[in-house]
Amino acid sequence: MRDDSDHALLERFRRGDAAAFRELVVRYQRPVYNAAFGVLHNADDARDVAQTVFMRIAERAGDYDPGYKFFSWIYRIAVNESLNVLRRSGREEALDEDAEVADPASGPERQLEDGERARLVRNALKKMSVADRTVITLRHFSELSYQEIAEAIGVDDKTVKSRLFEARQRLRALLPEL
């Protein structure tokens, strides 16, 4: 149902209805931004990537194949754009521990609300590989199913399950205090 609706919004946008596109952005801004932030761990880069993703959607609205799920398409673009940013900045490997970790909402109140546990998880994720961060982000922050993750990153469901298991085990090892 959601895909039908997404497709309908995209069709309306193609016919010139900007409000329909705005609705798509509202609908997907959070998961797209968090997918990018989970991979990049940089609020400004994640914001840029999110904006790029929606602009690409606007540019390629005519290329969208309704045979595919809209959210798979948009997540695939988000992951690829995030990886491109990492490549351009030479940050393909695990992030430097001292690298900037801007919180999505970096105010002091929010930091307090996040609490120590969130800070520990965020620091541990920084130390992980891009591949590990990507699957964990898509599963736990973007809340995609295994099949949706598989479609987004171009592997099969079993590979997603296996990668998630290994990534979580590594994350677990990085968080002995939890």
């Binding site: 596109f21 959070r30 904006q51 996040d114 520990l120 965020r122 994350l171 939890l178």
Partner: protein, 382 residues
């Protein structure tokens, strides 16, 4: 159920992908195993922490996207003015960044494909200008004879005197007495070789197919197919198919088909066919291809193709192609091609091509091509 399977079950339950039967199975396992219960509780903490992570979109993103979309539409609108901003140089929509008013506005340089909305009258002006410039350049070039042609263009390029030195003469070259040349045997201590050589003492390399290295003593590598390395002592790697590494002592990787890694000492994973993983530290079994088991701790069997066994600890057999055995610890046999045996520890045989034997420790035979024997330690046959 081994530990990994139990952990996978825990992940499945906590990730809400387990079936009712799997949940019941986990409950039974946890009630019978306090250590597993403690592990489950710790994993539950991890899943809880991930679920509690704040995930929000930045304020104003929707407005920024819509503003960028508007800018993109304006920038790409066609113009009929001859010298107006051309669509060729206009940034693509996705190159435009719009931030909230409190933040700086940035625009990236164009990176996308050239767009198709160029104004034809402007393109015509550029074409006419370009042709005119080419005609002028041709006329001027002919008038002043530039670049130089005919006998004006002859000469020799030589290096400057400051970078020259005396050349070696015939008396500068000393030939070695042929009777004092080293024998063409296999190096026993250290060394490496290209294709078809093996170092069987301390360190060295052995190429038994295309290219590769094989160290069968301390450290080294062995290629038994296309390319790869095999260390059968301390550390190393062994490729027995396409590409990969196999460590059969301390740590390493082993690819026995397409790609993968196998640690046969401490811990690791082994891909033996298409894809897969095998923990070869404590004890366990895996099916690696069609069917088979691999015990890589005490004793066991490993089928890595059709049928066969592989003992990588005490004693056993390993079939890595058709049929054969491979002992990589004490004694045994290893077939890495068609048929044959390979002892890479104490005594044994190794066939790394068609048929033959290879002893890479004390005594034995080694066939590294079609047929034949090679003693690469102390032993017997050539």
């Amino acid at each position: 159920m081994d530990r990994k399977e139990l952990l996978q079950l825990m992940h499945g339950v906590l990730d809400r992908t387990a079936t009712d039967a799997e949940r019941a199975e986990l409950d039974r396992a946890l009630s019978a195993d306090p250590a597993a219960r403690a592990e489950f509780d710790r994993l539950q903490g991890l899943f809880g922490a991930l679920a509690a992570m704040p995930a929000e979109a930045p304020v104003g993103l929707v407005d920024d996207v819509m503003a960028a979309l508007h800018c993109s539409t304006v920038a790409s609108s066609p113009s009929n003015q001859p010298f107006s901003q051309s669509g060729v140089l206009a940034p693509m929509g996705s190159d435009i960044r719009v931030r909230a008013p409190s933040k700086p506005i940035t625009a990236r340089t164009p990176s996308g494909p050239i767009r198709g909305r160029q104004d034809m009258s402007k393109r015509g002006l550029w074409i006419i200008g370009g042709v005119a410039a080419a005609v002028i350049a041709l006329f001027v070039g002919n008038a002043i004879d530039f670049p130089a042609s005919g006998d004006k263009a002859t000469g020799t390029i030589v290096p400057a005197d400051r970078v020259r030195s005396a050349q070696p003469s015939a008396t500068d070259v000393k030939l070695v007495d042929p009777s004092r040349r080293p024998s063409p045997g296999v190096p026993l201590a250290t060394g490496g070789s290209n294709a078809g050589a093996a170092n069987l003492g301390a360190g060295g390399n052995s190429n038994l197919g295309a290219a590769g290295n094989s160290n069968l003593g301390a450290a080294g590598s062995s290629n038994l197919g296309a390319a790869g390395n095999s260390n059968l002592g301390a550390a190393g790697s062994s490729n027995l198919g396409a590409g990969g590494n196999s460590n059969l002592g301390a740590g390493g990787n082993s690819n026995l088909g397409a790609g993968g890694n196998s640690n046969l000492g401490a811990g690791g994973s082994s891909n033996l066919g298409a894809a897969g993983s095998s923990n070869l530290g404590a004890a366990g079994s895996r099916n690696l291809g069609a069917a088979g088991n691999s015990n890589l701790g005490a004793a066991g069997n490993s089928n890595l193709g059709a049928a066969g066994n592989s003992n990588l600890g005490a004693a056993g057999n390993s079939n890595l192609g058709a049929a054969g055995n491979s002992n990589l610890g004490a004694a045994g046999n290893s077939n890495l091609g068609a048929a044959g045996n390979s002892n890479l520890g104490a005594v044994g045989n190794s066939n790394l091509g068609a048929g033959g034997n290879s002893n890479l420790g004390r005594g034995g035979n080694s066939n590294l091509g079609a047929g034949g024997n090679s003693n690469l330690g102390s032993g017997v046959t050539k």
